[in-house]
Symmetry: C2
Subunit: 328 residues, 2 copies
DNA sequence: ACGTCCTTGTCAAAGGTTTGCACAGATTCT
DNA sequence: AGAATCTGTGCAAACCTTTGACAAGGACGT
């Protein structure tokens, strides 16, 4: 049943076509060196034998591999699966396989899988929002890196640039009449969280609006639920959450306390990953993770050793979780 | 900056330790053949040089590789990410990398990635609910397969066995007083869908309860939303949906039509992937995808060429989307 | 007629590892 | 004491491919 036959090698094809091994190899790897007639015959035999070059042998001698790695803290986050899908769409065109590893934000696992992937990959797309900069530098000695959603001097990176969108969202709220707004943070060590907190804080200062910075969270749904009490205690009329998961949790938490969104409190998220699932639909900011994934892989495969940071502009998505405050 | 140094080889270690290449190789691959003293010295030198055996070279000669593939129709489904995480937890212990491919249910892509993975993997965990049996057989010639959530004679497989749980759920509904119940199908060609439809149909017959079988869907959230109208038209008091995504869509669709769950209609899902996000919490059936992933990988790595199908028993999760019918 | 160049194809080395076989020395058995 | 066994190590082939060097043969210019 599972009698798998040994795959054909260059040698098999060469013998069957009556030419030398190197001739067959060149038919595929350096076309033009071989006469059209020979080439045709070889190709025909090769496809009859279902020949396909042995990746290991090829990699061994060329020193490169047809794979890339994708290392993320939590693959179950829809932001990441979207990114993965986009990454695959690009890599498939170059018959490049993708290794995926979920690190659970553990520095040990990150290190371990990067080492493992280093040998078998052209490079690694690394999303490690909480990893120390020095640790990242260390890993980049091991294998070419493209960073996602964080910027480290000297290492290429692609990130969702949501600063403008967040300012726009903030301005929206203020225009609707909100004067006390809270920011519900994600993981304190996360690069993105720092960016977003800073953007919102700056904007609040610029518009002279009061901003309440709630306690840092781990970014789980339950953290959002738990934050509802604090939100009510501070008496804010709008909350900008670090991401959609927290925002959804907050909506649920408020509901449990008998409050309604957006009537009692307006809530915004980030990443646009829960558009359909939550009620009311979340006003949020697109994550553009597909574009980020696409660019990250392209960057890795291009091989151009550019080391700048590329930001992908996010945009505002207005849904039903925001409205003017009741007292306005 | 990105000056990566050539990794150490057996040769380097051998020279530095003053022994032959094969001795160094044996220190790592067939321990016991080498004297403790030599072994100690070699290990010391090796770790000083940060030696780690070249995977390509090793695979080339042994004919096996330290990777496995995971091929799924849609990686963004939480069932699959949970499965992936569990799979990785197992494979990591054996320093086995995981290739991931999302096929979008395209037979072409499935074939393509399986071929690609075949060369570089010990085997592939394949979830292809709609692929034809003959096609699966063909692929299993190419590379060792473990099937997920479908059973094909002669090929090892692991699946969530939710038949008992679905019967229990059905009985619950009947006991609560429901007498007209609908089944909201997923993709018609899906193995799981057939199983679930059959289970529910049989149970309805056994209990002499009326079962309405709604039109097949593609399984998207929007399909669930759209199905709300049909549900009302048929005047059922409870709907068992193919999975949680459809169930969530249906809840949303009913809400848009001014109906409430569970007051007007009870709804159940399958897989338990949206527990926190949907309101009201869905009564559903656990997917056990972590257990499925764990077993699938273990099966692949064990190498024992068993070819049976292993079912993982699902259990009922009661939440707030089910209640006695209003008229009861 | 001879040297030059081009085309087409072959030879052989290289890449890093595993492993069957051989060999030397030490130990045990008869 | 000599043979048989065992232990520890080295040699070299093999896995399959790529690629630089090179050879044979034809076309061409002088």
């Amino acid at each position: 049943m599972s009698a798998r036959t040994r795959p054909a090698t260059l040698k098999d094809v060469a013998e069957a076509a009556g030419v030398s091994i190197s001739t067959v190899s060149r038919v595929f790897s350096s076309p033009g060196r071989i006469s059209p007639e020979t080439s045709r015959r070889v190709r025909e035999v090769a496809s009859r034998l279902r020949f396909s070059p042995n990746v290991m042998a090829r990699s061994l001698i060329t020193g490169t591999s047809p794979n890339i790695g994708l290392v993320v803290p939590d693959i179950s986050n829809p932001y990441m699966t979207t990114l993965l899908k986009a990454a695959q769409r690009v890599s498939r065109l170059q018959s490049t396989g993708i290794f995926v590893a979920d690190t659970d934000d553990s520095a040990d696992i990150e290190r371990e899988v990067c080492e493992q992937f280093a040998q078998q990959s052209r490079g690694v797309v690394l999303c490690a929002p909480r990893m120390s900069t020095s640790h990242i530098r260390e890993i980049s000695q091991l294998v070419p890196l493209v960073l996602v959603n964080r910027v480290v001097e000297g290492i290429p990176s692609i990130y969702t640039d949501s600063r403008a969108a967040l300012r726009e969202l903030f301005d929206d709220l203020v225009e609707q009449g909100h004067r006390r707004i809270a920011y519900l943070p994600g993981p304190a060590a996360s690069w993105s969280n720092k960016q977003r907190a800073r953007t919102v804080t700056d904007r609040a200062k610029a518009l002279d609006v009061e901003l309440v910075r709630l306690d840092p969270t781990e970014g789980f749904h339950a953290d959002g639920v738990a934050a509802a009490a604090a939100v009510l205690k501070h008496g804010v009329t709008a909350v900008m959450a670090f991401d959609d998961v927290l925002a959804a949790g907050l909506v649920e938490g408020l509901r449990r306390l008998g409050k309604s969104v957006p009537d009692d409190v307006s809530v915004t998220g980030h990443d646009d990953i829960l558009s359909e699932l939550v009620h009311p639909g979340l006003t949020t900011v697109t994550g553009q993770s597909d574009r980020v994934g696409q660019l990250a892989v392209a960057r890795l495969l291009d091989g151009s050793d550019s080391d700048g940071a590329v930001g992908v502009k996010a945009t505002v998505v207005r849904r039903l979780s925001t409205a003017p405050p009741r007292t306005a």
